[in-house]
Amino acid sequence: MRPLSELPDYREMSPGVRGRFARIRQRPVVLSVEGLGRTFVSAQGRAIDALDDINFEIRRREFICVIGPSGCGKSTLNRIIAGLDFPSRGRVLLDGQPVRGPGPDRGMVFQSYTLFPWLTVQKNVMFGPLARGVGPNLAQREACQWIDMVGLTDFAHHYPGQLSGGMKQRVAIARALANKPRILLMDEPFGALDAQTRATMQSHLLKIWQNIDATVFFVTHDLQEATYLADRIIVLGRNPGHVAEIIDNPVPRPRHPDQFLDPTFLAVQQRLETLIHPPQKLAAEKPFHVPRMTLVGDDVF
């Protein structure tokens, strides 16, 4: 990575990007998180704060990435928004209404493959519409559209067991979108995929997002992924989980993997790196000692 001094400030943005953020701020708020906290009780009976005083707002059709060191509570935050977990303090408002339990207005894509293995791809995508009470014929037509959108029309009648990991996650996205959710929650959805597939899936997700009316809340631990996908990046800190910074991503859209080496891109990544792995903390880490276990001289390298 280039020395910090050569990179532009990550807060500097082109007029185009600045205009885009101005337009986004005009849009209505879809989701707002107010003073959210979550306390777990450990097996020893100690109270552990996983999240504390989290505040942010997400506007319509925004792409939000949440990033943070492991154990900062980013998955817990996602689950609380989904309604699968409950806050100890504060509240989550969706379109001004407090969230009470899981619902089809907040579609979720998990890191583990959660397709129903006993249903074909098509039936999996139909699950949400049928649960909402849509008639089977209409549900099937809708499902076909969404399967087409993720490019799996040829596999509509395959079982999940017959698909690769990337295909499964594409079906999972189609399944979540088939409910036309207000917000699409994604919990490290590409974490289990190989690098090649992950890159394809990222581009694919951006393309889908651009063509539908969906707000995306994307949890990841991959700095490049966050920079590549997000409008805004919510960086969480640890002990307890708190919002360290919300970065307005200055990388212009449309995004392309070529931008990975742009100074702007690198500046954002550099900033994320600093936030997640603070330099003073890295320096404080004790160096580990490796004893020499070979008789081969260093000249062989």
Partner: protein
Amino acid sequence: MAGSSWFTVTGGLSAKRSTPLIVASFVLPMAIWCLVSYVPFIWHPLVNVQVSGGSIYRIGDRPEKADFRREREEALAGNAAIRQRLAAGEPLDERSSRVKRANKAVVKQFGPYAEANGWLDARAALDEQAIYTAMTAYLAGELEPTMARLSAENVAVVEYNAGVLAELQADDAGRLALPGDRYLLSLVPQGRPENPVFLPPPHEVGLAFYDAFVTPPRREGEPWLHERLGESVVTIAQGFGLACLIGLPLGLICGAFPFFAKLTEPVVNFVSYIPPPAFGALLIAVFGIAGGPKIAMVFIAAVLPLVLMVAKTTRLMEPALLEAAQTLGASRPRLVMRVIVPGVLPNVWNDLRIVLALSWTILIIAELTGTKSGISGYMQQQGRYRNFDNVFAAMVMIGIIGFTVDQLLVLARRVLFPWAYGGPLNLTQAISTAWGRVTGWAPLAADRPAPPPPARRELSRSPADATAV
């Protein structure tokens, strides 16, 4: 598969290797059974007496080998002494009437052998004249034995005796005249080595198996074997069916809702520790002595573990699937009926197979409560008659029924849950695969062209559940 070992620890064996092993798993015990049954020197600790002679045994007795040998040696020693005395020309200094009485007993030794061969009836077999006639006819080759032939030493004995008797004239009453001046030779006991009655040879079991279906039962009014088998199957079907009807939904509800699990499972767990046969007396009091207590006992034996197993299987379901369904807007009933039930059914199906096997175990005891019925009633009766070939045949039948039903359930699993077992079942393909397994290890197979590589099927990952043979 080059380089892989027969004794590989993981990864399984190719069909070419596993098929002969599967065949051998059945053939090896059969071969051992045949060896023990048909090769006399391996075990055969008993002797089936064919010729009793002057011994303490009767024809058909099964003395131990050592005891039989002692009797035989005694007879041989007696004959040797008589022959020695004759050769030396020593006269007998015993009373003639005493010698005649002894000789009469010796002549009668041939009686049981003649009777067993059907040459004489029971009355004639006690008459010396008739026995003598049979002796001469046998020596002349006019009578064919249905039992073991006399050994060379016994033929010599009979020849000598007949020769001596031929020199004497019958008295006026037509009774056989017996020598008073010398002893006749005794028949030497003869027999063939045999296994104990509880280990019949395979062919007898096979015959019993066949006979059971074609010959009517010995006592009138007794059910045929297939009727008894039918009784057993109906008992199982009713007891196990009832258990499924109640145990499956209860287990699913307990697995899905902790409320019902806590309300039900502790007591079910407690009762399941009471062996079902312990309910026997109670069940007879409640249901009488006919079919009722048997069905009830199978039911009790099946329903308790079924509830516990199904509940546990249900709880093992991937929680992420339930969460995914909830975020898709599934209501609670939909969650149970459309996610939990289809999700756990393949594993519940395997639970059912285990519980069905358990039902058969309990059935054998259940059928002996109250009036003895079904296949176990038959086995007990035949065991009392010491017809162990029939007992074996019945056991094999239970095995065949159980094994066949289980294999059918395995097959049905692939039809019912194609998604869990690598795509839908293609019957023609399954048959050709099976045929390939049978013919695959013939040397010709190497010359055949390799089959085209499977297309998309490679993507499918079937669970490593290889209970199917």
